[in-house]
């Protein structure tokens, strides 16, 4: 009986944890909640990134290395390093590498802050806005050792394994070197 009660408690605990880690009702992952910039011909999309979408982004690599950068419009070093991410995207064009940005701004600031910033940067890669019920779940989902300090950059290999993680501002040469290492060319 005691063992049965313990199992019931364990099941209830896991159910609560899984429910707590999920997305908000009504919020969609990368497949929905797309915001477009209709003012210009430039197509800028910022999708909401929830827990299932983050898991898919990391695990479903389709043979490509992922360079994930978490930034915010209010974060000065993030803004300073952003042109290097754009440069990185162009440097790896035609190679199995995907550059992705995730904004840590609020998900209701897409049109007021995120898109104007991306337009100015002429961003050629996918950008999401973190949209988690608990900010902590996103932070731990990116890397369990991450405190939440911005910017943060993560490299995932083509098999979905975390290979490199850095908190704080980086630079083009350093990012390029780490991606090349993950690709196996160095």
């Amino acid at each position: 009986m005691t063992r049965f009660a313990a199992r019931v408690c364990l099941f209830a605990f896991c159910a609560v944890c899984l429910w707590g880690c999920g997305s908000k009702p009504g919020q969609e992952g990368s497949s929905g909640a797309v915001v477009r910039d209709s003012a210009t011909t430039q197509r800028i999309e910022v999708s909401k990134l929830d827990a299932p979408a983050l898991a898919r982004l990391i695990q479903e690599r389709h043979g490509k290395v992922l360079f994930l950068n978490v930034w915010a419009t209010w974060c000065v070093p993030c803004v300073e390093e952003f042109p290097d991410l754009v440069k990185l995207h162009h440097a790896f064009a035609g190679r199995p590498v995907e550059i992705v940005g995730v904004s840590a701004d609020f998900d209701d600031e897409v049109e007021s802050k995120i898109i104007p910033f991306l337009k100015k940067q002429n961003v050629p890669f996918r950008v999401y806005v973190a949209s988690f019920q608990r900010q902590e779940d996103f932070i731990n989902g990116v890397h369990t050792s991450w405190s939440g300090a911005l910017p943060a950059s993560l490299i995932i290999d083509s098999k979905g394994e975390r290979k490199w993680f850095q908190v704080g501002k980086g630079a083009f040469d350093q990012f390029k070197l780490e991606i090349e290492k993950t690709l196996g060319g160095l």
């Binding site: 000065v76 900010q135 731990n140 300090a149 908190v167």
Partner: protein, 193 residues
């Protein structure tokens, strides 16, 4: 019957012992004593505050929008808990924010707690602090009882979990802190190379 009674008593004793150890800080990360000058040039030694019921170390910044979003909340926390025996100490470890700037920022926002200038981020390195705002709550033995955020949203109207207040309330009532570590977005501490 006697056997089950003995088992219940021993389980109760174990529970009491565990709670006592947690409140006392057994098995917790300990902060080594340090001395730093505040932005007015006054020296503060951490162990001088050991008679407090809790010491709250707050890594803050003058230019970080996240830290600044908490200015009013930090001032209110100090007002609400100082009379209950809790000591608040701000620490600025950012290399580009000098003592004069820290002093003006504190005055502007009505901070009544000292703000220590951590030149060369020595204390931030020792505590492995990486973000602003970042909180460490210590007991009289300088054990870390709580580490993390003030609450769960920069926007005050979106806060659903007042983590620092919850931790302090538990400590003041002699209970173990329920959630000892939390995380939130913030600005990285700008360290010297």
């Amino acid at each position: 019957m006697e056997g089950s009674m003995t088992r219940v008593i021993s389980q109760l004793l174990l529970a009491v012992l565990t709670v006592s150890m947690l409140v006392a800080g057994e098995g917790k990360k300990k902060v080594a004593d340090f001395t730093l000058e505040d932005c007015n040039g006054v020296k503060h030694t951490l162990s001088d505050y050991r008679s407090s019921k809790a010491i709250v170390l707050m890594f803050i910044a003058t230019k970080c929008p996240v830290s600044n979003a908490y200015n009013t909340r930090m001032a209110e926390l100090q007002k609400d808990y100082a009379s209950k025996g809790v000591t608040f100490i701000g620490i600025n470890s950012n290399k580009q924010e000098n003592a004069e700037e820290v002093k003006n920022h504190a005055k502007e926002h009505g901070f009544e707690f000292p703000i220590l200038k951590d030149w060369n981020n020595v204390i931030a390195d020792k505590l492995e602090a990486s973000v602003t705002p970042e909180i460490y709550v210590l007991n009289s033995g300088l054990d870390v009882l709580y580490h993390g955020r003030i609450d769960d949203s920069q926007r005050e109207n979106r806060v659903s979990s007042k983590d620092l207040r919850a931790a302090l309330d538990r400590i003041l009532s002699g209970k173990a802190v329920e959630v000892e570590v939390t995380k939130a977005f913030g600005c990285s501490i700008k360290r010297v190379q």
